[in-house]
Structures are given as C-alpha cells and as structure tokens.
Symmetry: C2
Subunit: 118 residues, 2 copies
Amino acid sequence: MSKSELTLTPVETVACCSPLVREPLSADRAERVAPLLKALADPVRLRLVSIVAASEGGEACVCDLNDAFDLSQPTISHHLKVLHEAGLLDRTKRGVWVYYAVRREVLGDLAALIGGGA
Amino acid sequence: MSKSELTLTPVETVACCSPLVREPLSADRAERVAPLLKALADPVRLRLVSIVAASEGGEACVCDLNDAFDLSQPTISHHLKVLHEAGLLDRTKRGVWVYYAVRREVLGDLAALIGGGA
DNA sequence: TCAAGACATCGACATCCATCGATATCAAGA
DNA sequence: TCTTGATATCGATGGATGTCGATGTCTTGA
C-alpha cells in the first residue's frame, strides 16, 4: 500500500488486505466495505447491476433500464446514483443518453473479500 | 434443481444458477439474495463474521464477541440474530455459553454469485 | 429560438433499522 | 432453592432509506 489505510476510499479498501475469514476486519476497514455491500443489498440494485453486466458491451442505457422495472424513472435514477457513488457502476453520457457499466474489478475484489477462504 | 425456484430459501437461492454478470437476475432471485447481502452490509456484522471466521476452531463465544465492541450486549445479540436468521452463522449452545460459527459455503456461494465473472 | 425527450434533483412520506435500557430466560453452583 | 452470570427479548427512539410526483437541466432537431 502506498496510501495510508486511513485515506482509502471504499473501493480501494475492498481490494486491499486479506479476506474476511483470514483475520479479523478492522473497524475502519469494515466501515469502508459496508457501504459497498449496502449498495448491492437491494433487489432492484442487484438486478440493475446484473442487467448492466449481462448486456452486450457490458453497458446499458438508462432508457432500457427504466423499461425493465415497474418503478418510476426517478426511483431507477436514484438507485443508479447509489450504485455509481458506491463505485460499482461507471457513468458515460453519449448524446442524450446515459450509459452505465459495471466495474468488474470491484465486484471481483468484493467477492474475494467475502469468499476468500473458499 | 430438485425444488422449484419458488420454494428456495435465500441461502439455497444464492447457491443456484449463474453469477450476477452472466445473465440478468430474475426478480424472484434478487428478492431472495438481497437479504443475505443486507445482513452482511453493516460494519458491526461484517466484523462479527470476520472475528468468528478467524477464530480458532472457526467459532466464537458471544462473551468474547461482546468484548470486541463498544456496543451494548443487546445490540451485539441483535446483530448475531440477524446473521443467524440470514443463514450466515450457525448457533450452538454449550453449557451457559453460546457459540457462533460461520457457514463458509454460504459465503463462498455469495462470492461466486457476485464475482462469478472474475 | 423553441419544443420535445432523456435523465437528474428536490421535497415529502412511510417504512425500516441500529441502538439502548429494562427485563426475561436459562444453566450452573452454593 | 437462591443467586449469579450469560444470553435473548421487548419497547422506544432517532436516523436512514425506498418510493413517488413535480420540477429542473441538457441535448437535439425543427
């Protein structure tokens, strides 16, 4: 680590150090990892991530995502914002449309942290 | 699958089928997976799981867990209940003490679901 | 310049959740 | 049986969160 652990973002935190089951998580690290899991811990957001990840090109337009749910457009927008701010989704604007893409390394790091004992 | 997907528990659901990034999660599956992530998505519960998993013998007594936090005993008891009911922790009573152990297969299955694309 | 459409933000509301103190339960010893 | 200590349950409370309708911001094309 080049940066002090105290300056790490949640996304950086999840990639560092050993998995959950190897040694006790520090309070600091737990505080930074939890928001990522919290972002994922919603049925709608889980499906959003899954739909985006499974789309061709690895990205999806908000317009398509809206159609996949029986929820209002602001609600989907809110969930996308949560996922983006957590660092799980990248955001790109092309013309009038906005595309979201999954940051797979983050998902991979999260998985390694959780299931690292395997 | 021998059981219909509609009868699966959250813990069973997380073990079945393909990872998040392979194909879109169904609404039903998302509804059953989310509670598991929600159980993990708390700094205190993350540390509880980590402490238990990293303990020798793979289990820890509640009395030790209480000491590891600056929180009231009922609060720790509440968090352990959440983790137990989610299916992440096993519970055993021996004498006056209660021991919790991590169900590693569940953590492993969760990790596979999230990071399955790797 | 204007109108239309895509997406985000805002404010409100209902529900959920982490935490606590008080109390209950239950096992072991005296 | 009584007491003590370990853990769980209960009820209350403040704060977070999912959802919505209304509205704002941009971009495009007419």
